[in-house]
Amino acid sequence: MLRAFLALLLLTGLTAQPGHAQEANLQDLLQEHQAQIIKPSRTKVGPAIEALASSGLPSVPLFLEKWRDKNVYVAEDGLFYVVAGGTATDVSTGEPVSGVDADTLDPIRPNGGVRRVINEALVEFQLSDPDITRRTEAVDAISRNLDPSQVEPLSKAIENETNAALKLRKQRLLNYLAARYGETTEARIDAIKALKDDLSVDGRAVLSQILATSTEAAPNLPEDENIARVLEPGTDISRADAYAMIEDKADLPPVLSASEIRTALEANVEGAKVAGVSVGTLTTQDARAAAYDRLAATGAVAPRATEDTIGETLAAWTIYDVYDEDDTAVTEAARDTQNAVNTRVGVSQTADLALDAISLASIYFLAAIGLAITFGVMGVINMAHGEFIMMGAYTGYVVQQIIPNYTLSLVVALPLAFIVTFAAGVAMERLVIRHLYTRPLETLLATFGISIALQQLAKNIFGTQARPLTSPSWLDGNWAINDVISISYIRVAIFVLALIFLGLLLFILKKTRLGLEVRAVTQNPRMAASMGINPDKIKMMTFGLGSGIAGIAGVAIGLYAKVTSEMGADYIVQSFMTVVVGGVGNVWGTLAGATMIGTLQKGIEWFNPSNTLAAQTYMILFIILFIQFRPKGIVALKGRAAGD
């Protein structure tokens, strides 16, 4: 009994005491500035907020937020409460207060100006908040919407910043503010020049905001304005737009569209005639314009601007872009800096593009190398190669259903995919392709039959919807070299995988007995057979190897794209072209082909980023032309090895 009592005492003491102390403090402080808080005005609320901010009480930021959001109420005795969900709560602890009915309280409604002042104070709190996520949020909020009022709180918050990265961001942000709102021209120019090495979107936005222009029209170029450039109607700005600008200012007749002329004429038809002309003759635009002008001469309709008036007006007026910023020195510094930044951004974008191209090339390499080996050794195009890629990806998916750990399942899936597709490849070689070695074109069709059957089987088993192949968490995210160059870790991993396979294949082909035999059969199967090599076995092994690599490529592709029954078909034509462009029967040829196709596709996409379809179209056209000049591919077998 006694113990329970003590426990209760302890419990109430623990919870109530610190809260009580605070409540007294914040409430007291609020009471001191009661008048300004109940009826705040933008000009007078300053001292009250200053007092709150400098009090150092931990509950002040929350109170300010509630105040801003109109959740603070005042009782008749002058005490403040925060009302949340219909109950009155304490201003500092946020716990319900018994004995106070929320309905009897009066709400406090600060106006927009006051809320802005509160916000500024809040930013200052958030910038120094102990919680790093709140500090980051505050910095994000500022960078979204730069405002001169943020200079002071921001510069205060820099000194005590413990996180180095965030401190750097804060300094950058302060520099942005200085560039846009600095007090002297020199300070602004210094800040602008400091932006030279900043490739981030925010930094570039600051420069373009300083260089923002608006288009004006005037009879003569004004001398007291910071002119960016003079626009030539017809080249820099369309004649219609230019005339429309002047028309507003000089009260000139408007340019009428064909439909406006038509409506006006229709309104003035009298007995199948308009302006003395029969409507039946008004079947050309010139005739209608002439009729309209005659109507205008009689005063029936307002006059319109003819091509002559437009020409005269444009000749007499000047259209120019003027900087919103008045200071010439600032805009000049900003323009110089912007040019420097743009050069560096261009270089970085090229590097980024190169990375993209390499990544795409490694995917094509993985997808095509298996095809290239089988094609080289047997002269057989395997149309079901894409389906082996799909099979590997589905193997990865099934493994992930059994082993929930993504890293472990990936480790299991890669060799398993190899084994599954190796077996499928060997089975296909034994059952079908072996019988068709003398009829290569028919192999193409037989393997196509297998391809559609496998695709439909996958559809029947796994359904038509895409299945996810989730990558382990350590492959999430991007590797960012600077603000422009970045690449996802999955793509890096695929690149590494492609490198491993390149090395492995080179090793197998150049350093092992199997490789020696494979090369011998590639060059001359009959001669190889007479030297004691069993071509049948070699062909079977090569086909299995090529198919196995397709399976591993499937896991890799499945990691960054979705697994569907049609995924193989998406890569098969590109794989064919990689092989054909690169040259048959040679690992380096496939590498060259993949690099060329990857680079080409990314390069064309860069010229026309909105349209990947057009990029693929042009790439294929280019390949068709390329084949004209090197029909046997980039790396062609020479001499007798080339065969026919």
């Binding site: 059957a453 034509v573 029909p631």
Partner: protein, 388 residues
């Protein structure tokens, strides 16, 4: 010449007689001119199959006789369809627009008419002007000429480039596949000028025949398709017979040897490739008014591979084989996928043919390649041999 040619090829006469009988029977059984046993949509399916037979015999000539496995002939088929579709869409929209503008007080200018037609046709891809591709769309004769010229020229240029640099075998197959892929990808763009992936639609409505019911139009097209197939058959039978036919077959069997004998192999190949492309264009122009819609998916690489499948199943190197393969596979395909085939209950699993048809087709195709390289036509030869 003509008599001797037909005397040499009795199968041509047989084919023409069978085709004529088939057309007659379908007409008699149709809704429009007969007892109404066959529905209009089935008559259209038959008409479309005849067009597919036409492109299949073209494929047979280029692959079965000349040994060029083209995996891009459906591109020419599609171009023919687009060419006729442009006129059909233009003329029909023109009629509609002219009628809607006719009750205005001031008659419309030609520019206004054009703009209205253009925004009607291209509104769906957010454009309102006619692309240059449509320059001749207002004129039926010019557009009919396009059906012959565009596939012909494309085949001529492509074939000249490819054959000149001695691209042969699988390489050529891949290259033709790349060609049709490039074309379909290009057409998939909204700013291709041919309405992107919406394609051209409403092609079953023939301008100038607004009052004619579809049941009658379907018979017209059946007659047209049968006529085209008959003429195409005679043309190709003539091409592959005689001395030229021998050279073409020899190129298939050993190209190098023919070249060493002094023949200009490339010219023969180019001739065959271009001629079959033109015929494919005609087949497409007859097919799509019966299908009613054409879009870029029609000329995806897979379509051309199916074409090769029909010819292979029917048996290469004999024109009636291509026809047989096409008829058997397309009709079986629509029977299986249309739910005509009964499900097979295996106790633990029920085979629904809509899901399993492609598996069956794929494996039966492998079986045909392995065990019956002569295809269905080979069976006919065996029967003939047994009789003789």
């Amino acid at each position: 010449m003509n008599r001797s040619f037909l005397a040499q090829n009795p199968s041509v006469l047989w084919f023409l007689v069978l085709l004529g009988l088939f057309t007659l029977v379908v007409t008699v059984l149709s809704e429009a001119f007969g007892v109404g046993f066959l529905s209009t949509s089935f008559v259209k399916t038959l008409g479309k199959t005849l067009c597919l037979c036409l492109i299949a015999i073209a494929m047979d000539v280029v692959w079965g006789y000349c040994g060029i496995l083209s995996l891009g002939h459906f591109a020419f088929f599609g171009i023919g369809g687009y060419a006729i579709g442009m006129w059909l869409m233009y003329a029909r929209t023109e009629g509609i627009v002219a009628e809607s503008l006719s009750n205005q007080i001031i008659p419309p200018t030609s520019q206004e008419l054009q703009d209205a037609i253009a925004s009607q046709i291209f509104g769906v891809v957010g454009a309102s002007e006619f692309p240059t591709l449509w320059t001749f769309a207002h004129s039926l004769p010019l557009q009919l000429l396009m059906i012959l010229l565009v596939p012909g020229l494309l085949a001529l240029v492509f074939g000249w480039l490819a054959f000149r640099s001695r691209v042969t075998g699988v390489y050529l197959s891949i290259l033709t596949q790349a060609m049709t892929l490039a074309l379909s990808l290009y057409l998939f763009q909204n700013d291709s000028g041919l309405r992107g992936n919406n394609g051209l639609s409403g092609l079953q409505n023939i301008p100038g025949a607004e009052g004619v019911p579809q049941s009658v139009i379907s018979i017209w097209f059946l007659w047209g398709s049968a006529l085209a197939l008959g003429l195409g058959y005679v043309l190709f039978a003539w091409v592959v017979s005689g001395k030229m036919g021998s050279v073409i077959r020899a190129i298939r069997d050993d190209e190098t040897r023919v070249r060493f004998l002094g023949y200009h192999v490339e010219t023969y190949k180019l001739f065959v490739f271009t001629l079959t492309a033109v015929v494919a264009g005609i087949a497409g122009a007859l097919y799509y008014p019966q299908a009613g819609i054409i879009n870029p998916a029609e000329i995806a690489p897979i379509a051309s591979i199916y074409l090769a499948v029909w010819v292979a199943i029917g048996g290469r190197g004999r024109l009636y084989g291509a026809v047989m393969g096409t008829v058997v596979v397309t009709l079986a395909s629509s029977w299986f996928t249309g739910g005509g085939a009964p499900d097979v209950n295996l106790g633990v699993y029920t085979i629904q043919w809509t899901d399993w048809w492609l598996v069956l087709l794929g494996f039966s195709f492998v079986a045909v390649t392995l065990f019956f390289p002569q295809g269905l036509g080979g069976l006919v030869d065996k029967l003939k041999g047994a009789k003789a």
